[in-house]
Symmetry: C2
Subunit: 292 residues, 2 copies
């Protein structure tokens, strides 16, 4: 059996009992290490699972999937994935390959940011499509996310914005010289994300994102408990100027609040507001939310 | 500490290690038994968790939340919820109440249909808002879901349709006589759901749902493994006439496929198609999907 196992959001204890049993029964266990970022050391996982983990980077999962799948028709082999296995297309690729090889496959689900974002108090059924925001450079500022947000905003839907992660990136020089030397990982922070959103609005000028009247909620390490999780709500400008350390450690995600906002959503998220009065006033006056 | 713990999708082994530890440390453990339906017996959970579970129905969670929260400032108390805790507004209510009482609270996330729907092969970021479909009666056929689907269809987004569950319903006679006698639970099946969609299209006539050219994917018991999980793909008409037993046991959910369909999504879901040729042909000719 080939298992694809979601590890959930935060640490070694977020795996399910079913997932842990599959790991224990496996002769090889791969840890996928690029579509998202594990918040803890591989060694800590190994100690808890009592198994050696084989790191599988993007190259390996995409181009050497037959190596991962070797013997999986007769033995148990597991691929561990941060969050839920269906968060990234790569995992559907390897499952398709397993099917083609007639290897039985089982997916073991877990929480991912795509449902755990409910922690901010906004209702999941009011979210539209999810967008990704990549690091802008001097010469490359892809803004198709703006069109997607515009679509959601037009319907009053909330938008989950996933922020860029750069792992195993090479500098231009190292790339040119063919040196496999990698830069340290980079994670987009909330202030960077908000600055890019505001910059894009400045370029596009379609009135979709207003620094002073668009509400948003920053999420970091959702599910990580009081010592790790941070949820911060405010206007885009409030989020931009909030002290960076207030957002906690990466990963960060951002939710842009849509106009179909319910008063219970406002109440719940108020506990996370940088400025409770500004949060409620904006919800009431700009979002026309029926508050007392 | 007041814990709200997601049980995941299927059975006693879908809980996380963190969730199980919280149960073990709790002096009282409530099992919420109405917003979704547990697929296994309470007794089986109790045996696995080695704890007695107190059933908490809607009345109790909504109107007697102080009873559930009693002593939670000084002892551990857990509320178990099928799927993820943020699937339903009721849980945000009780967390708000806990906050008001200054009781520390921790949410332990898990998979829910809102992310596990990725199992059908459609990409999560291409889903728009989620809709709910209730049982039609002779005199009551609420169709606001149609407007929501229309919004998603307009943008080419996929739509997750959650199907009605009737639990602890009273007959009109028992209700009138004040007798607390409840009807057996009812779960909307895929054929009923599809029939209601087609009926609504017949009434509204806005060309949003076409029995012969709208593709959809039925999901049941996602995450339940090969013995339980069923995924069936086809046109609405194919799904309507497919043998009911082919969909397996409840709960069922339905995904309506949007026009922004990627060829990898078509490839992946083809394994679940009632008629592979019709699936691909419709994806190619009607959805304009770039297939070979």
């Amino acid at each position: 059996m080939f298992y694809v196992i979601g590890l959930g959001l935060s640490d070694e204890k977020d795996i399910t009992i079913r997932g842990l049993e599959a790991i224990k029964s496996s002769t090889r266990v791969y840890l996928e290490a690029y579509t998202s970022i594990l918040m803890i050391e591989k060694e800590r996982l190994e100690a808890f699972y009592e198994k050696t983990l084989i790191l599988a980077d993007r190259d390996m999962v995409e181009t050497q999937s037959d190596e991962i799948l070797e013997n999986a028709a007769t033995e148990d082999v597991s691929l561990l994935v941060v969050g839920d296995p269906f968060g990234a297309t790569t995992h559907t690729d390897i499952i398709l390959r397993a099917r083609a090889l007639k290897i039985p496959t089982r997916v073991i689900h877990n929480a991912s940011i795509m449902n755990a974002m409910g922690a901010c108090g906004l209702q999941l059924y009011n979210f539209g499509q999810t967008v990704s925001l990549v690091f802008f450079t001097e010469s490359w500022k892809p803004d198709s996310f703006y069109d997607r947000i515009k679509e959601n905003v037009g319907l009053g839907m909330h938008t989950l914005v996933l922020l860029d992660i750069k792992v195993k990136e090479q500098s231009e020089e190292n790339l040119a010289r063919g040196r496999k030397i990698y830069e340290p990982p980079r994670y987009m922070s909330i202030p960077t994300a908000v600055a890019q959103l505001i910059e894009t609005e400045g370029t596009r000028q379609e009135g979709i994102l207003n620094p002073d009247t668009t509400l948003a909620i920053a999420l970091s390490r959702v599910g990580g408990g009081v010592e790790n999780e941070r949820i911060v709500a405010g206007t885009l400008r409030e989020l931009l100027t909030y002290p960076a350390e207030g957002y906690g450690e990466p990963l960060h995600s951002l939710v842009i609040v849509g106009k179909r906002l319910h008063h219970l959503e406002v109440d719940y998220a108020e506990a996370y507001a940088i400025n409770g009065k500004s949060w409620r006033d904006t919800a009431k006056d700009v979002y026309q939310c029926a508050l007392d």
